[in-house]
Amino acid sequence: MIHAEELMKVYQMGDNEVRALDGASFTIEKGEMVSIMGPSGSGKSTLMSIIGCLDAPTGGKYLLDGVAVENLDETQLAEVRGRKIGFIFQQFNLLARTSALENVMLPLTYAGVTGKEREARAMKALERVGLGDRTHHAPSELSGGQQQRVAIARALVNEPAILLADEPTGALDSKTGVEIMDLFQSLHRESGQTVILVTHDAYVARHTERIIRLSDGAIVSDEANLNPIKAGTPRAEE
């Protein structure tokens, strides 16, 4: 369960202060599939990095499964990032000159999984995203959509309870975007993972069950989407 209260993130830029987050409060239950929308600069990425324990808020309270994240030390934070959360970055952030398989094995390595088991689990994650035949390709030998899938496989491999995706379809064409959404939906359906994704695209957002809208670091709307689109069904007239 994710519980945020009056989250603040203030950057001091000389004399100005930039309020990237300005009192955002919300709760996301285990197993929900949520999208976060909002104009550029509204604080979506900032919020995701706080939820993903990559950054700390400058004010407010953030509880992850009932634990106040601010009380965790460096090692505990590393463990949370590695095992509880799967983060999918907008820029993929794959390691160059490193095969898809090795990229996916990375979180397992830091979680202490070794040898055959590590390889088998990474293989399984790659097959899950439909890349079972590209395991030895380096990122530079993969298409954008394939790289995004490797990044998703890497986020999945430790079977984290929470999947965070910052604009996972932003860099892809609409057909590949739909395939990625299909993947998220099936992950959510089959393993009951909490999925939170950031998107600019209202059509993508309508694939989720709940849509949170941010503006200037504050939540302006938080609504349920009772009839989420099932990925792959023909796109209706906008």
Binding site: L54, A111, N158
Partner: protein, 412 residues
């Protein structure tokens, strides 16, 4: 995270920037090579000096002109000011009666030697028959200079091993006529090689000393009309008698040179042990000096590695951010970069050891300086490289480990 995994990451990163990696470790390579070569050559020099002392007869006293014969302070001035005379030799012959097994004068000078088309400068040594025993020479072919040669002032010569080969190649030199400074000498014998040791006879040509004074050395061997010698070698019967004989010789020459008791000696009586000590102190000074240079080279190499590792950490900021985002702890990042630096410096160390061993082998194979490669010197060099890797790797590794994951991920 497994150690082997870190090594793999390190090697991948180093291979991605091959040229840079090579240039980075150059300092370490040079430093370590210097350490290894230095220790091997130092060891070799000590060994060859010691073995020469033993092969040259351990109970040998050398009387030479000039003050204490020390390479560092034996300036030309003090040598020129004083002379040893053939008279001094005769005086000692008469005055030193007991405990002496042999005593010989030596006069040497450099001249041009010719045979057929070959011509070069080498050391011509005027000697007596006993010289062979005093210096423990072995004859390879023919015979050594005899008392008869000296009496009749015969024009005969005995060649050192290198000279014989340079002049005659595979031909037998015995009976051939060579020209020394235009004077014809007949080759009577060839010495066995004593190797590349200090004072080896290999580069010398031996002639009867009397022949030399009469027909070759000319005016240069005279001082105020008296025949001079370079030194007088005294072979003492027993080690225990060395001090007594040395004191007697000093007393006799002091009197003949008319030195007042307060005057400084204008000559020296040195045993092989004294020479060894002097040489060792010279070797030691050189070793310390070159060691300091090697140390500086290692230090500079270490700083070079640190510099490149800092650049690497900056370049790979995004990678570090990502590793942290997928669960890497501070310690794991620290270890990764530390291992990368150590891999770099150990690589430099290994290449340096190979280069150092190569240099040492080159010196001993070409006969310039003998060298002995010891396991100790290699271990020491390896240890140095390791310490440098750890020491200069810590700071960049800490920089990497302390990066904030979000700041690192957003780094452009």
């Amino acid at each position: 995270m497994l150690f082997s995994e870190n090594i793999k990451i390190a090697i991948r990163a180093l291979r991605a920037n091959k040229m840079r990696s090579v240039l980075t470790i150059l300092g370490i390579v040079i430093g370590v090579a210097t350490v290894v070569a230095l220790l091997s050559i130092g060891e070799g020099a000590t060994a060859s000096i010691t073995s020469q002392i033993q092969s040259g007869g351990s109970n040998l006293l050398t009387v030479s002109p000039g003050k204490q014969q020390n390479m560092m302070s034996g300036t030309g001035q003090s040598r020129q000011a004083s002379h040893m005379y053939y008279d001094d030799y005769q005086l000692l012959e008469r005055g030193l009666a007991s405990n002496i097994s042999a005593m010989v004068p030596v006069y040497q000078s450099s001249y041009t030697v010719k045979f057929g088309g070959e011509s070069f400068n080498t050391n011509i040594v005027g000697v007596m028959e006993d010289h062979k025993d005093v210096r423990s020479f072995a004859i390879a072919e023919g015979r050594f200079i005899t008392d008869g040669d000296n009496k009749s002032q015969s024009l005969v010569a005995v060649l050192g091993d290198t000279v014989a080969r340079d002049l005659f190649g595979t031909l037998s030199p015995i009976g051939k006529t060579i020209s020394i400074n235009g004077v014809k000498f007949q080759v009577a014998g060839v010495l066995e090689s004593k190797g590349a040791s200090l004072g080896s006879p290999d580069d010398n040509i031996f002639i009867p000393i009397e022949t030399g004074y009469a027909k070759l050395f000319g005016e240069t061997a005279l001082y105020n009309g008296r025949k001079t010698v370079n030194n007088i070698l005294i072979s003492v019967e027993t080690t225990s008698a060395m001090d007594t004989v040395s004191a007697q010789a000093e007393y006799l020459i002091r009197r003949s040179h008319e030195l007042a008791p307060t005057d400084e000696l204008d000559f020296s009586v040195q045993s092989q042990a004294d020479t060894l000590e002097t040489l060792n102190s010279v070797t030691q000074t050189l070793t310390i000096f070159l060691g300091a240079i090697a140390g500086i080279s290692l230090l500079v190499g270490g700083i070079g590695i640190m510099n490149i590792m800092l650049v690497t950490v900056t370049e790979r900021t995004k990678e570090i951010g990502l590793r942290k985002a997928v669960g890497a702890t501070k310690n794991q990042i620290l270890t990764q970069f530390l291992i990368e630096t150590v891999t770099l410096s150990l690589l430099g160390g290994i290449l340096g050891i190979l280069l150092g061993v190569g240099i040492a082998l080159f010196f001993s194979v070409t006969g310039l300086i003998g060298s002995v490669i010891t396991a100790n010197s290699i271990l020491l060099a390896f240890f140095f490289a390791l310490v440098i890797g750890v020491f200069f790797g810590l700071y960049p590794a800490f920089r990497a480990a302390n990066l904030h994951p979000m700041v690192a991920l957003r780094y452009e």
